[in-house]
């Protein structure tokens, strides 16, 4: 297979995705076949071609520096999984300084 177990584990960690042991082999097999499939691009004649980031040309529009948002925190946080005193809660993070 084109992707090793370690690579799959690394990708899952980078993407913060927990993979169950039972899913692992299937993921490895499918991802490998996808990589093999997209490897068809390796033969493409791309010398001197400018990569296309956007389908249309054009430049970024700039907006004026004005406050336009009225923020209703309580309405927004009504949906939040865990809040206290207006803060979003996560398990304690080791001090970064």
């Amino acid at each position: 297979m084109s992707l090793t177990r370690e690579q799959i584990q690394h990708l899952a960690m980078l993407a913060r995705l927990e993979l169950a042991e039972s899913e692992f082999d299937d993921v490895q097999a499918k991802l490998s076949s996808i990589v093999e499939f997209v490897d068809r691009l390796q033969a493409a004649p791309v010398d001197d071609v400018v990569p296309m980031a956007h389908p249309l040309s054009g430049a970024q529009r700039l907006r004026p520096d004005v406050v336009t948002e009225v923020i209703d925190r309580d309405a927004i946080q009504a949906n939040a999984p865990a809040v206290q005193d207006g803060f979003y809660l996560v398990p304690k993070v080791i001090e970064q300084g």
């Binding site: 980031a53 927004i76 803060f87 304690k92």
Partner: protein, 480 residues
Amino acid sequence: MNGRWEAVIGLEIHTQLATVSKIFSGAPTAYGAAPNTQASLIDLGYPGVLPVLNAEAVRMAVKFGLAIGATIARRSILARKNYFYPDLPKGYQISQYELPVVADGTLVIQDAEGQDKTVRITRAHLEEDAGKSVHGLGPFTGIDLNRAGTPLLEIVSAPDLRSAAEAAAYMRSIHTLVRYLRISDGNMQEGSFRCDANVSVRPRGESKLGTRTEIKNLNSFRFVEKALEYEIERQIDVLEGGGEVVQQTLLFDADRGVTRPMRSKEEANDYRYFPDPDLLPLEIDEAFIEAVRQTLPELPDARRRRFVEAYDLRAEDAAILAQNPAVADYFEAVAGATKAAPRVAANWIIGDLTALLNRDGLEIEASRIAPPALAELLDALESGTISGKIAKDVFEAMWAGEGSAGEIIAARGLRQISDPEALGAVVRDVVAAHPAQAAEYRAGKDKLLGFFVGQVMKATRGQANPQEVNRLLKEALGGS
């Protein structure tokens, strides 16, 4: 640091740009609001929201680029820096990677010998700030995203700095510059101005760079200097002991004065930068740049030199006054309003005013004595209405809110006594009251003049004009 080794330092400074709204949303940026009351759906990274770039943030970045003589990119790209952290709501930070908006500028600082040194600034780019974490919420960490989306300018120097002192001087110069340009308030306590340092050492004469470490979150000039001093010594110790410097990220423990490795954080992070597909390339044309150029103020260096030339200030005083644009403005307001020499104004500001500002923990913008009021005091001094010593008392009284210089002088009856007849009478009385000292003085003990001056001052409650007193005493006592 001994002569065998050379330190190589580069600084990355993040300065918050003083826009009214965020870089990609119309939420307010004001400091100190209740948690998450300034985090819009865009700042929170809600499903479906999209960023739109703040024009003023771009102008401020261009302004900085012009001030350091850099190249302004006609086309630059906003890119995503991908990593997971609770204060980064989208799971990526919009920043710039290849093609930053500003590149290849320089800044002149003064090195340890007071010589000009040119520091290269490799790049400056726009990015968004992350939110903040708070602890003490039981087993949880609380996330406040008010700060998320505030515009930042990341300023990256080349590794041109050669000592901790130089690094601090460079940081100060950038701090002064962004305040002059009014693109940032540079408030380090509020986190508007943050510094990371990259440092390595190598044998003097060696051109290859040593392994470097990164010290993060240095938020005062003093800490930058102390942290670098420590780290440079530490690295030298390691190398002289035959070891190798490990590349790592460090924090400065200010209490103990040491650097220590950061715990966890990004284990060999792969940021997977790619151009943000929600944003188009930023294109800046000549007209835009010209419009920004028109708003450039007199830069700190130019102002410092002008203070020396136009006001005849000493170089050190000019440097001190020019470092803070508000102080420089204050000085010029006083100098322009008073008949006293500019040097006098400079001395009072650098000395007496600064002492009181520091004592009361105030910035000059909040000074209890405004420039016209100080000018009035200096005029009273200049015209001989009061003596120097009395002036200091009046100054304290003005600060305490007792009124203007004129009002205080009148209310307390502090006018300097200069009338030769009045003083002459006092002088004669004093001399007559101390015949022994008078005789000693006439015999050659010149130092006793000070004693007599003191007695005259006591008798006049300090209001006697010192020059007149001196003259009259010498006459009365005779001798040299």
